[in-house]
């Protein structure tokens, strides 16, 4: 008994509890991907480009957009909800940001995300519509609004210089600015989850909303704020993505929803809410980005890539599911 006390107080936050297992596993899998990819390139080209910092930083830059979306989505998933409006929230933010232009482009883009998120939050918290339905509906609404806004064509407006700078610039010719933005978002999410009443309430609601409510937590407000944060994160990702490709275009967010959910879940966050650590989501994003990249370097056919991708997600979840789980 006393030994356990010492171990846990000495290593507060560092002990290997069930939540760390998925993270460790995902890190191991990232290594495995790099190893297999390197083996392949050594065999075919006689070089190991995957292990060069240049390649890895490039991947992190590309991964930043997914990482920011996943960070916001993780908050919602921890609540026990889901945000399916990510694709068109992201697209709308990008389109509005490029349309507004000037110094207000970025605030406008994030603002669009925030507003969509708040509407989602109102619907889920106060109208009690299941989030899966409500956010799916919002996604369609945003798509309609954007088609009306652009007439169905790619908007002609371009991303501002600041947007492009944040998305593609390398600081000191080395560190991508997008990576720093991702880092900033990550620090904010970690702070929310571990240091604030909001974070504690998110975990509590995700585990058992009734008990959280009876503890006097304003559950509806927490749900509203969390969805707003998720929307804002999607908006920010849209702004950056528009900067990366210098303009906004139809369907630019479509490739982000499922990989973001996969990243969150591979990182060990319980899809039903209440459990998960941000570190896991971070590793999950890296895993997905690297897996995609290595499969394309290996010139795997699209069909094969999809199959491997799906199998990886399912098999990792099977491994996590084996752990003893406390359910109320």
């Amino acid at each position: 008994m006393s030994r356990r006390v010492n171990a846990t107080t000495a290593l507060w936050g560092l002990r290997l509890d069930p939540d760390d297992k998925p993270v460790a596993f995902a890190v191991g899998f990232v290594m495995l991907i790099l190893l297999i990819g390197t083996g392949y390139t050594l065999y075919t080209q006689g070089s190991a480009p995957l292990l060069q910092p240049q390649y890895l930083l490039q991947q992190l830059q590309v991964g930043s957009f997914l990482g920011i979306v996943a960070a916001g989505l993780m908050l919602v998933i921890l609540l026990g909800h889901i945000d399916l409006s990510v694709p068109w929230t992201l697209t709308a933010a990008a389109m509005i940001a490029t349309a507004v232009g000037g110094p207000w482009a970025i605030p406008a883009g994030i603002g669009v995300g925030l507003v969509v998120g708040m509407v989602n939050g109102l619907g889920v918290a106060y109208l009690r519509v299941p989030s899966m339905i409500f956010t799916l509906g919002m996604n369609a609404v945003m798509r309609g609004l954007m088609v009306a806004h652009t007439g169905g064509f790619a908007p002609q407006t371009a991303a501002t210089d600041l947007m492009q700078y944040l998305a593609v610039a390398r600081i000191g010719d080395m560190i991508p600015a997008a990576l720093l933005v991702w880092l900033a978002v990550s620090v904010a999410v970690v702070a929310i989850l571990t240091r604030t009443t909001l974070g504690r309430s998110i975990y509590a609601i995700g585990n058992r909303e009734r008990a959280a409510y009876l503890s006097g937590i304003d559950t509806n407000r927490v749900i509203l704020v969390t969805f707003a944060l998720s929307g804002a994160a999607a908006g920010l990702a849209g702004v950056l993505l528009a900067g990366y490709s210098t303009k906004a275009y139809q369907g630019m967010g479509d490739a982000y929803l499922l990989p973001a959910i996969a990243a969150v879940v591979i990182g060990g966050t319980n899809i039903l809410g209440g459990r998960g650590r941000y570190l896991g989501t971070l590793v999950g994003v890296i895993l997905i980005v690297l897996l995609n990249s290595v499969l394309s370097i290996m010139q795997m056919l699209e069909a094969g890539r999809q199959i491997i991708y799906g199998c990886v997600i399912i098999s990792m979840l099977l491994v996590y599911g084996r752990g003893a789980r406390v359910t109320g």
């Binding site: 356990r4 507060w12 240091r195 509590a204 009734r210 209440g274």
Partner: protein
């Protein structure tokens, strides 16, 4: 008089839940052509016995003999096939299906492998007519029916299984007086058809009207079985109590009744609360007595702001205050705290740590703005663990790893951290070991001495007697009697809980 040979006999049945004996060496028998009432306090073991007969739970020891042949019922459907059908207290109908679907749920009439809708409807009409419900359309949905009609549908459904032994576990609790009459007629008719009927009810006059024989249970033991009319009501209550007050309760201070802190007037909610009036002051422990499910739980929830559409007035220090949410309740003029009924699903978040759970209700006190102060939180958690002597390995362990008693202490600690003025306790000692119970009693008295006002609902009369300065006995959503000081006796509590002091008016639902 020659006893008729028993139709169904249980011998030496024992059932344990964990370390608690729900039934101890029970012998019980019932015969055909009779209505047999089963009496006892909450937790006396009646429901467990019925569940064993109906195959819902398995006895740990003992045997069952049906018409002279030893039987076991591994599942409820095995019991059904043997002709034993049970109507449980909680309704088991599917609200979104039609009445006909529900009645024929387990074996719908089929033609060519498909459900024969017309035959199903005919059969349902027949069965509904037998319980006096010709007016229910078999095609209406159960959720559209009022509660009393649903209970009759439940009875019709049970009849559809051609029972030889019909068990009614408080199956009439929601019926209106006219419905009760038609159920009586049906039961007498079934008795005439040589069925065996077991009837559990807390309404003494129903038992007087119906039963041929009565059996009294107490603390998991079968105390006595006697024919109708052999014992008076008073004697029956004596049999139901029959034990010494045991255990130590903290001394009750002798002092005049304090000025009311919280005053409740005419509190109504749906048809569970029908005009509750109650007062309680600082330093007082006021018990809420009565049988299970008479509105005590709803009263506590209403005071804590959980229920919507509560009418009536609640004043604190003369100022009106009826909170709209638990958040408002814990931060209002007088801080309230509720230790809810089910600690596992309402009081705690089992997979979160002990520390997180203790801090859960007082996060706003432990944080600067939006940021939680880790130092203060740790101190508060340590203080609470020490104060309540919660036995833990580490405060970071999930609260699910603790024993029931220690879990309940965590729930209490969580609320003490908010420094409450009014403490609402919903059966806080249910399923807890004796030692922890006594610690909780002592703590309640300490809190009252420090100026808290405690409303204490318990299903255990002994606790109410031992702990409370006053007890309000609640029956059918009203306070029927307030007992004070020496008047708080087991006999008074049970008599007023059954409401046999004044004859009950017919209920109009």
């Amino acid at each position: 008089m020659l006893e008729p040979a028993p139709f169904f006999a249980l011998e030496n049945i024992t059932k344990r839940y964990g370390g608690v004996h729900a039934l101890r060496n029970v012998d019980f028998a019932c015969s055909r052509g009779s209505i047999h009432a089963v009496l006892g306090e909450n937790g006396a073991g009646k429901s467990t016995l019925m569940k064993i007969m109906a195959g819902v739970v398995q006895p740990d020891e003992g045997s069952m003999i049906l018409e002279g042949v030893p039987v076991t019922f591994p599942t409820p459907s095995a019991a059904n096939r043997a002709g034993i059908v049970c109507i449980f207290q909680e309704l088991s109908l599917m609200p979104e299906l039609t009445v006909a679907d529900n009645i024929t749920l387990s074996s719908p009439p089929r033609r060519f492998g498909f459900i024969d809708g017309r035959a199903q409807r005919r059969r349902s009409e027949e069965l509904l007519a037998r319980v006096g419900c010709e007016d229910i359309n078999p095609l209406s949905r159960v959720s559209d029916l009022p509660l009393s009609r649903r209970q009759l549908v439940e009875i019709a459904k049970a009849l559809g299984r051609d029972p030889k032994l019909l068990i009614l576990d408080e199956a009439t609790s929601a019926l209106t007086s006219t419905d009760v009459d038609s159920v009586y007629r049906m039961l007498f008719e079934l008795k005439a058809r040589d069925l065996s009927i077991l009837y559990i009810s807390h309404r003494m006059h129903e038992i007087e009207a119906l039963a041929d024989r009565c059996s009294v249970f107490r603390n998991g033991r079968h105390i006595e079985t006697f024919a109708k009319g052999v014992r008076s009501n008073d004697e029956i209550i004596g049999l139901m109590i029959g034990r010494e007050i045991e255990g130590q309760f903290p001394e009750k201070p002798k002092r005049p009744r304090p000025a009311p802190l919280i005053t409740i007037r005419d509190l109504c909610w749906e048809n569970h609360l029908k005009g509750i009036g109650l007062e309680a002051g600082r330093g007082e422990i006021v018990g809420l007595g009565g049988l299970d499910g008479q509105g005590q739980k709803e009263l506590l929830l209403a005071l804590f702001g959980v229920l919507r559409g509560v009418r009536g007035t609640v004043t604190i220090d003369g100022q009106p205050m009826l909170p709209s949410s638990p958040r408002a309740a814990k931060g209002g003029r007088a801080r309230m705290a509720l230790v809810p009924e089910d600690r596992k699903s309402e009081g705690l978040i089992l997979s979160m740590s002990i520390a997180d759970n203790i801090a859960m209700a007082s996060l706003d006190r432990l944080s600067h703005g939006t940021f939680i102060d880790p130092g203060r939180t740790r101190q508060a958690v340590e203080r609470a663990i020490e104060q309540l002597r919660i036995k833990i390995g580490s405060a970071g362990d999930p609260v699910a790893t603790l024993s029931g008693g220690n879990q309940q202490k965590v729930v209490i600690a969580k609320w003490l951290a908010t420094d409450p003025d009014v403490i609402l306790l919903n059966d806080p000692t249910r399923g807890i070991d004796v030692g922890t119970k006594h610690e909780i009693y002592r703590l309640m008295r300490e809190l009252a001495e420090e100026g808290a006002c405690i409303l204490f609902y318990s299903t255990d009369t002994e606790e109410l007697i031992g702990c409370c300065d006053r007890v309000a006995v609640i029956y059918d959503g009203r306070v029927v009697r307030e007992l004070d000081g020496d008047a708080i006796t087991e006999r008074n509590l049970i008599a007023s809980a059954l409401n046999i002091v004044e004859r009950r008016e017919p209920v109009h639902v």
